[in-house]
Amino acid sequence: MIAVFTRELKSYMNNMTGHVFIAFLLLFFGVCVTVYNLFLGMASFRFAVEITGIAFLVIVPIITMRSLAKDRANLTDNHLFSLPLKVSEIIIGKFLATALVLLIPTGVMMLYPLILSAYGTMHYASSYSAILSLFLLGLALISIGMFISSLTESQVIAAVISFGTLLFLLILPLLIALVPKDALVSFLCLVALSFILAAIVWKLTQSINAGMIAAVLQVVPLCALYYFKKPMFEGLFHKIMTGLSLYDRFYALNSGVFDIGSVVYLLSVTVFFLFISVQSLETRRWS
């Protein structure tokens, strides 16, 4: 794992990618801090962090697109598999290297509240919790980007799909707000969601039976619940999606309320996508 981690880190630092990522993130955050905190005189980092979170849309795909796709294109993945390394070690090593590249600008951002405190009263707890929320969102998006990169051998395709996915995640809070809150719409949306999940199961396990079982296991209880406890569905989809939406969690966390649930959720998403990246590489070996 250490070998993979060191190699990836060196590779980020030898190429432009790592530097561009760090420079872009710091530039963006710096501009936001200048505008909101220096010119407009706000004491909170909330807006600066929120807008930087949007910038992840562009820079996360840049840093994750090559992580696994390039290995596949260069045929170095087979060699990694032939080394005495577990697939999980390969994924975690690569993820930690990327996380460290994210940690460097985050570390610099941590200095900002200290600098600004010279000019007024800073609320440290909320400032650092906002920066932490940015870091956690970054980790979750990086693991999603890595998973997408594990699906293809083309870096361009990986970047485009990652960009699309992140864009979708970003506008998800707006989309959720558009969905009517009545029970029937909630029910139908949940059924549609179940079918999407079942399709993912089918794709990952390459077995149509597993997909069918997943669909039945989700849709039958939903129908039963809808039949017997219809009022429960009022606004349910809305609630579930807000809970699942990464950016909603991120906004909640940087608004000054340290919500431990959101921290756990963002970390779980990270671990979940790392886990399915491992599965994705394993499936390729077995196919």
């Binding site: 990694l80 598999f81 005495p84 070996r285």
Partner: protein
């Protein structure tokens, strides 16, 4: 050292390996020989744990590659067909990475990297980026990384493909030196290479092992006939009647002649008798000038061709699934023939 038992690999409907079994004992250079698409790379990928088998088992140094992958993989150094190099690193950095990934002890990393760089003569390029190295040097970096971690078996997939003749000789020398220290398995579709460096040969064809024997035994298998190519400036009937009196000719085949007024023949002649002088005098008696006479000694090539041809006959009645194979092979026959002409035939 390596035990392969009833290995089968399917890609969808395509049967890439068909129930193959063989064992590799330590201290020899093994050649895995077969036409392109025969299953050489698949076999190697499964032995090294890159690919899972559909059924069957592989044990390396007593460890099953699927059950206990980590200890099994420590016995193996693998060089895939395309050297798995990170072009943004220098050979020194890259070898350090592989050594660490192979869990070489921290203090030993530097020493081992220096050792393998010395064996593969990489010192002069140690600090140049791999992307700036020639293909020969890249291949050497690839071979160097197989030796790290001191594995017992080194597996090389077509290590000389795409190199120039001088580099091929250098890499073959390197493989021969490696063979003195470790067990080496080498895949190739080039017969000359196998004849030159390997002691034992496994011939694989359409996912089956069709021969597993030492090089000498296979050469004996080649049978009692050499081939003699002649071209005579005379009519076909005259030449054939002249040859009737020559002993040692087993059979003949009339070839399409490249030259006007000449008759070209491919004769199959007894290995013990050399009928060249007799043919010369027979033609001289009839005042027919011989313009070409070339003896081609039967070697591994003929064994290879006959074994792979037999297997092809077996498949002739097989179902449509195998037609893909046939297409592939047809394409590759030309490549292979070229290689044989360059390296294998010993002309006299």
């Amino acid at each position: 050292m390596i035990e392969v038992r009833n290995l089968t690999k399917r890609y969808g409907d395509n049967l890439a390996l068909d129930n193959i079994s063989f064992s590799i004992s330590s201290g020899k250079v093994y050649g895995l020989l077969g036409p392109n698409g025969a299953g050489k790379t698949t076999t190697m990928n499964i032995i090294t744990g890159c690919l899972a088998a559909t059924t069957g088992s592989v044990t390396v140094g007593g460890h099953d590659i699927f059950e206990e992958p980590l200890p099994a993989k420590r016995h193996i150094g693998y060089l895939p067909e395309v050297p798995p190099l990170y072009t943004d690193m220098t050979p020194f950095e890259y070898l350090g990475f592989v050594a660490m990934a192979k869990r070489v002890e921290y203090e030993a990393v530097l020493r081992q990297v220096r050792e393998v760089m010395e064996v593969t003569q990489l010192e002069e390029v140690r600090d140049r980026l791999i992307r700036n190295l020639s293909k020969g040097y890249r291949q050497r970096v690839g071979i160097a990384q197989t030796m790290l971690g001191n594995p017992d078996v080194i597996i090389l997939d077509e290590p000389t493909v795409g190199l120039d003749p001088k580099q091929i000789i250098e890499i073959r020398d390197l493989i021969r030196r490696l063979g003195e220290m470790k067990t080496v398995i080498l895949s190739s579709h080039i017969l000359a290479e196998v004849t030159e460096v390997c002691e034992r040969v496994l011939i694989i064809h359409r996912g089956k092992i069709v021969a597993d024997d030492s090089l000498e035994n296979l050469n004996c298998l080649a049978g009692g006939a050499n081939r003699l190519h002649i071209a005579v400036k005379a009519g076909e009937s005259v030449v054939l009647s002249a040859l009737e009196g020559v002993p040692g000719i087993l059979e003949y085949e009339v070839l399409k002649s490249g030259e006007a007024g000449a008759c070209e023949l491919m004769l199959s002649v007894d290995k013990s008798a050399d009928p060249r002088e007799a043919i010369f005098f027979a033609m001289a008696d009839r005042r027919c000038p011989i313009i070409t006479m070339e003896l081609k000694k039967s070697t591994l090539e003929s064994v290879f061709l006959s074994l792979t041809a037999d297997a092809a006959d077996e498949y002739a009645g097989a179902d449509s699934e195998d037609e893909d194979y046939d297409d592939d092979d047809d394409d590759n026959v030309d490549d292979d023939d070229d290689e044989f002409d360059m390296g294998e035939e010993e002309d006299e």
